[in-house]
Symmetry: C3
């Protein structure tokens, strides 16, 4: 497929600076584009590439003012990054292979309720009394255990395992090999040093518009529910323990973990490899920087926190610089001690 | 199903304070209970809820003395927490869909030896010369490779992959998508900068009563065996490297890793996101707090250790407070230097 | 199978010191060997076992000089460790069950192109227009989505999920339940607090001789490719984000993560649980010690770096010792302050 620069400017509500009749047929990074490519420039770190790019057209912010000559055609928009995202989405809609139908062999319980326009891949397993919404795609080698419900327009990628009694809303995406509803890590110590298993009788509830990356785990509640609220986004290899609740639109990067019964607020941004202890509360709009370890509740919203144990990130950065210079600081103390002896 | 409060008191060897004839049909948290619920109160942090709960009955310790009016019926027992666990287990036994039989299509080698009352889910794969014990459940999409043995009363959840020659005891539970017996990370550097693969010819041995969470990995030994001793409990996303041995009744929380050839003692408690280096020894009854990084052997048993590199947790907490106040401490040093100049 | 010590010495280009006619039939660690075993001694930490081993023969370096009596037979070689590796490889070749053929039921698209001498396990799924090279093994419950290419002599273990358009070279090994080509974690914040999904239209390219452990994740690029260069080795539970490039022969240990768009150089050695931030560059031959957190580019090659944020490992060790003694150092400062007051 090919579009003129003018067609794309129209789609993006933008203005063309250059030849409107040029044709583009692919998306490319500004530094990698060739004739027929369309690129974008949002981060000025990449401005240099504008002056040398081979892309036929580049989407830029209206407010951008070139400092040198350039040979590409510009499309001026309110927000170059957002516009490019729109373009990607349109492109993907075209690309998307709209999978439908039931591949064989698959296993669908006779008591399961399957919506319209559903895709079920080969070797997928849908247990007793499950309910799968309309337009939902279940890829090969997925297992959905009994009494689970999945909403409309969901994509459950290959190898995902969903335990019994899980409830998943509409427009959710779960990437390969993530596990939803496994037992919480609950063991009661016995007098003889062994541990008795505490039955995990709760479930997992995932609301609408949630995305989960690959190889992540969300444990079921001991009683009640582990809950991911509307719009939550989890990256790969994230651990959500039993009875945790993650607030609306909170985003958690790769390899982070939230321990049991903790309640994370709305619109939080949690970096990679963060650890959040159990039985605490994190206020709305909290930012936890990568690698932080939070052991106490964060009650005031909007703080930026980092380190182990976590503190205000501003203070952390200061302490970290001093830590780096610790040998010099200790030498200064030594010098002071020496001087005092002399006196 | 419905029970009278009296029936439950009998089952738990407890005493009723209130109306014995009331009926309960579900378990609930004390703060969430409604008519027909039974709850428990073990941690006095939750005592307030006793006075307002809507649960029909609450299990409490014999020694508990209410400080206010309450409207629920009490069941007095020796240990409320333990009693509730018993109740949960009974409840689960009833709930448990006692899956049995071989679903189709599944793949069972003709040389495999399958016990009695076994469940094999659809798309499960059991390789040549495998042995599956009585009452064991193999969920859909599990792969068990040749020459592996699984004992009696085990539950292998959907998507677990067990490599060849693995030995698993009785009463073990492995949650979805965990991998047992993958190759250890062994590569020999070559003169040209490449790495030659060191064949991993050992296996994994998992003793009785071991539980493993979801998406964890236990590598096979280079030679000999990687061993999880009786009663070990691993959480989700835990890494156990080649030739590691984890002692009896040791518990390891989520996202922790133990590097190659390390030997962890018995009854250790290892927090989340802990890293234990290779080729070291951790004594019995060691507690490693969350996020700690242990690089040297811990030879004295019963220590509580934290930090990176790990030290006594008591000392760690002191150093962490000083780290947080490092800018103030450095200012004090600056003041001292200033004063000395003046003199 | 049984070999004489002489046969093995011949295979390894070694010299026998002792009885050449003795027979060995198994490999064992020097401390665990019994009659009929062959072991090796490379690390002198284990020298003591040479004098007590029950192994029939032990491979040692030519340069090794025993300090005590011993009863085993020695095979002297240039490099005991390398020689033992050769032996292991030969042993494994014999052991290896050379799996071939297509097990049923499996799902192979009619448009897929399958090479010669390929193994496809039951419940494996190979999508439209995929290409599988000669001698490659696809184990049970693997899913390979449309338009993906896998080279010759690869082993894709059970449960691996490969998304569409992935390109994998020759001689690659991917262990169970790893995921290749899942979406990058890309979401554009919207004015109403929700996040719009940024379509991930790129792919993953894995060059020749790459090994990936179990339960690791390699995300596809937003545009362009996420790339693992020739000879890269990843351990278990490793996260490689979108648009990352890992240079030739770089090795990454378990539970480490590399964030989006970062470029790691050649022949780097990255320890366990390391975090590398996004959009940075790591020079060739960099060593990152376990648990380090790298937030800025490392431009000079060959450095050894550790800590959070990462610094020269030599300096880190000094600062860590001082951190451990922080209470004593603060007390010294207190003493100094006290003395100054007195004056």
């Amino acid at each position: 497929m090919e579009f003129t620069v003018e067609q794309i400017a129209l789609m993006l509500n933008g203005e063309v600076k250059g030849d409107k009749s040029l044709k583009v047929s692919q998306l490319a990074k500004i530094e990698e584009g060739s004739a027929g490519s369309i690129s974008f420039l949002a981060n000025l770190k990449y401005e240099q590439y504008l002056y040398s790019t081979n892309s036929t057209a580049v989407i830029v912010d209206k407010t951008f003012e070139p400092k040198k000559e350039y040979s590409t055609t510009l499309i001026l928009v309110d927000n170059a990054y957002a516009s490019f995202t729109v373009l990607l989405q349109e492109y993907q809609k075209v690309l998307a292979q709209n999978k439908k139908g039931i591949e064989q062999p698959s296993f669908i319980s006779t008591s399961a309720n399957i919506g319209s326009d559903v895709y079920v891949g080969a070797f997928a397993y849908i247990g007793d009394n499950c309910k799968i919404g309309n337009n939902t795609k279940i890829y090969p080698n997925v297992t959905i255990s009994e009494l689970s419900t999945i909403g409309d327009n969901c994509t459950i990628y290959s190898g995902v395992k969903i335990y019994n009694n899980t409830i998943i809303g509409d427009n959710c995406v779960i990437h390969s090999n993530s596990v939803i509803g496994s037992d919480g890590f609950g063991f009661a110590p016995q007098a003889d040093g062994t541990f008795a298993t505490i039955p995990q009788l709760g479930n997992v509830i995932i609301e609408n518009n949630v995305s989960i990356g690959a190889n992540s785990t969300v444990d079921r509640a001991t009683m009640g529910s582990t809950i991911l609220r509307e719009g939550v986004k989890l990256d790969n290899l994230v651990q959500i323990a039993h009875n945790v609740e993650i607030g609306k639109n909170t985003v958690i990067a790769s390899q982070s973990g939230v321990a049991g019964s903790t309640k994370v607020g709305e619109s939080c941004m949690i970096g990679g490899q963060v650890a959040i202890a159990g039985h605490i509360v994190i206020a709305n709009n909290t930012i936890l920087t990568g690698r932080s370890g939070v052991t106490k509740s964060v009650r005031k919203s909007g703080r930026i926190i980092g380190g182990v144990p976590a503190m205000d990130n501003h203070d952390l950065l200061k302490s970290q610089v001093l830590f780096k210079n610790f040998p010099k600081i200790e030498q200064r103390l030594r010098d002071v001690e020496e001087k005092l002896k002399e006196k």
